[in-house]
């Protein structure tokens, strides 16, 4: 099981955190501090696994972002690397060659996509197409609802203007 997912920029800024095991606020910030210290300082050609407090953290760097997932010591590290890549590819498809700024300004979208890939720390869907389609369908529901309210408001305005 994945205990948490972190996205940390090369400067140590947190871009996304998702906790599947229970961590208190204090523990969360401690985890972030400790791990960004360990991971950001590791050299480029070292392996992508860090042993940390009896657990393992699998991380991979994409451009300026580090994607980290923490798993049990007996988990399959190589698979987690694939899951990270899976997530990155879905992000890429959704945003169209994703960059860090996309994830900053649309951080909630990044969460929505992650929620379609992982639930309770387990993989939910292995098909990228299904994930993107599901998120897009929900986005269009939101758009439809917005237009509806928009049109009612413009109706009201039009009404009031008469």
């Amino acid at each position: 099981m994945i205990h948490f997912v972190l996205l940390i920029s090369r400067q140590g800024k947190v871009r996304l955190t998702k906790w599947y095991s229970t961590y208190s606020k204090k523990e969360r910030s401690k985890v972030l501090r400790e791990l960004s210290g360990v991971i950001l300082t590791r050299g480029p050609r070292l392996c992508n696994f860090v042993e940390w407090r009896g657990l393992k953290v699998v991380y991979k760097r994409y451009a300026s972002l580090y994607f980290c997932m923490c798993i049990d010591p007996d988990g399959n590290e190589l698979e987690i690397l694939e899951i990270i890549h899976h997530y990155v590819e879905v992000l890429d498809r959704y945003f169209g060659s994703v960059c860090e700024l996309d994830l900053i300004y649309n951080f909630h979208k990044a969460y929505y996509i992650l929620d379609e890939i992982l639930i309770s720390g387990e993989l939910q869907e292995s098909s990228k197409r299904t994930v993107v389609r599901s998120v897009a369908a929900q986005d269009s529901l939101v758009e439809a609802a917005k237009e509806e309210t928009g049109s009612t408001i413009s109706n009201i305005i039009a009404h009031a203007a008469k």
């Binding site: 229970t22 606020k25 909630h108 639930i119 387990e122 939910q124 869907e125 929900q138 609802a145 408001i153």
Partner: protein, 878 residues
Amino acid sequence: MNPFSSGTCLRDMIRAIRACKTAAEERAVVRKECAAIRASINEDDQDYRHRNLAKLMFIQMLGYPTHFGQMECLKLIASAGFPEKRIGYLGLMLLLDEREEVLMLVTNSLKQDLNHSNQYIVGLALCALGNICSAEMARDLAPEVERLLQFRDPNIRKKAALCSIRIIKKVPALAENFINCAASLLKEKHHGVLITGVQLCADLCKVSSEALEYFRKKCTEGLVRTLRDIVNSPYSPEYDISGVTDPYLHIRLLKLLRILGQGDADASDRMTDILAQVATKTESNKNAGNAILYECVETIMSIEDDGGLRVLAINILGKFLSNRDNNIRYVALNMLMRATTLGAQAVQRHRATILDCVKDSDASIRKRALDLLYLLVNDNNVKPLIKELIEYLEVSDQEFKGDLTAKICSLVEKFSSEKIWYIDQMLKVLSEAGNFVKDEVWHALIVVISNASDLHGYTVRALYRAFLTSTEQETLVRVAVWCIGEYGDMLVNNVGMLDIEDPITVTECDAVDAVEVAIKRHTSDLTTKAMALIALLKLSSRFPSYSERIKGIIVQNKGNVVLELQQRSIEFNRILQKHPKFRSALVERMPVLDEATFSGRRAGSLPTAISTSSGAPSNLPNGIAKPATAPIPDLLDLSSDDVPAPSFSGGDFLQDLLGVDLSPTPAPSGADMPPKASTDVLLDLLSIGMPLPVQTGLSASDILSSSQDDKAPFVNFNGLASLSSLSANATSPANAAPMMDLLDGRGPGPQKSEENDQAYPSLVAYESSSLRVMFNFSKQRGSPQTTLIQATFTNLSSNVYNDFLFQAAVPKFLQLHLDPASSNTLPASGDGSITQNLKVTNSQHGKKSLVMRVRIAYKTNNKDVLEERQINNFPQNL
């Protein structure tokens, strides 16, 4: 965006925060935003609710508190529209965790949404439930989730399956409800549902043996078939990852098969074919394929198998190990570690490769490889391996040295068939990484050296050589100093020369120089310096011609700010000055240290007799202090001392002795140190001083310890020892007795004084049919007049006592201080107790015992009860 929006939108806020140059600016922006959000929340502004929440999520990610937004999540979730619910559930997952009480309020909304007609809303609710549900919510909502496992849309089924995992983890008792639905998921074709269904089955097996049995019987065949289908499936672009169809599904199936095959030969047998197929057919040039192989190897290792497959598995790992990718090598090491428990022989073949990995530049790999190598060492390969490891120690990173040193030391000790090899290897480690060597390791080395009498000369010379080249390794210095002190004469005279040794010429002057270097080194800590002082004292008798110079060095420490060193230096100086006639006997070589006792100590199983016996110092393993038969000379020569000794009050006496004023306040030597320190036999044995006050007694007895042979008729152990115990407890009048002993020279030894500080039996001060009062006594060391009493009140009746009040009165010669009680309600039938601390100071300590009148008032069944009693059965001497 709403045309009437006021304030900043989310994008503007993020932009403003990103534009901040300093943390202070950022805080200011966030503070402003939070204030606006709070205001908006207070106005119950519905239009901006979702925007506020989105902002809060961003702010939370930056690490600021956002608890005030929690209720907004609930309101959004409770609203009707999908957009509101979507952001509301996201906020719920981000801003709350399962321990938050607010979470309970959402249960009802969740229940409604799980039954919603819009499947996306059902999906949102399942996702939130799966990520944060607590045990209570799991119980409440399990039936809904169970029903959704059969929902028509596969996207909901897969979400429900993962949600079930969370539920059974929180409440394992619910597992049996899910077994049948989970089994039916295994027949699905949709990959998402299959992946989550297999995962659910695996987790069910972990929490319920019933589920494990069920799946083992009913599903093993089906799973093997599914795995075969997926392995042989043609290319499908949707699930293909670098030439493998859905590696995630592969991995999950292998994982579940592992659980089913473990401990069941029949089930294992049914999966061997497919496992062999996966192990041989999977492409291993991409990460996805390797992930499958890795999982497959683990499954092969775990199931019951005749060994054919295992050879295959170890070979795969061997291939992994020679891979250039660090990740692959890491997992191979990880896996081989587990394989060693099955059969180390196959792993041994890869020893050389593993040794290379120990020297890798990657810390994760090094650590794994070292752990693995540690398991592979045996009698046959220990020598070459240790040689390699020690060579690597010279060039390894600083942060890795600690680990490496510990492992080497442990191995050398475990496989030390020959003493000379052990000593040689340890000396190498000490000179390379002495600062990383733990105390018990070098203590053990000294014990071994002491026992290897034919190697004393060789060892001390080797140490001397090592010392000259690497003085910065603390533990090397300690061991060297100890050996030079003990075997200094062998160093100088080349006693016991071995054939393999290079001859070396060391003069007496050189030996003293070496110890002087050790004591003057800035980095030397207290222990090293104290050891060096003892070594000097010993050398003064070994090399009488250098006695004056040694005295000079010792005297330099007379004014040392560290009490331990100061005291040692003064005592030793006095011995050198006043008592040359028995100095040589006093500093004879240490007797052979008892290995059995030492290893017993290390295991923490030191016989209690040693640590508690007060009157039996003869139990000490080095056999000190056999009762002296000869009349004891007045070692301290009190009356003729150059310091006038007007009276024999403890305080003054001590002042003379230490040249410091200790009397008014407890000695800086810390009167509250635990008494056990003085019985630290090992430290005593090795003459290691630590800044424990009581130990000063030992440093003295220590010097004497070498005279165990007792041929010399003067042994003044008791006298000196009790003297030192005095210095440790100087301010305590309770020590009047040992003081007297000192004067007549028949002291009961240092431990005697400890008895005064030992625990008093606790006392049932008062007991009636309804109430019991227990007193526990303790003393603060250094203030024998003051007794701390912890009173514990226990209710023996079946009614609760309210307004419980304890009062006490004492006669004039006592002073009483009452701390507040822990509570004023006493639960019924001993189901809890009240404690209260009392401090009694006895101005007539030693003459009169404590006495106390107590009154206890409380209410039970609305009746006032008053109980009174005089307590005069306090233990003596309080």
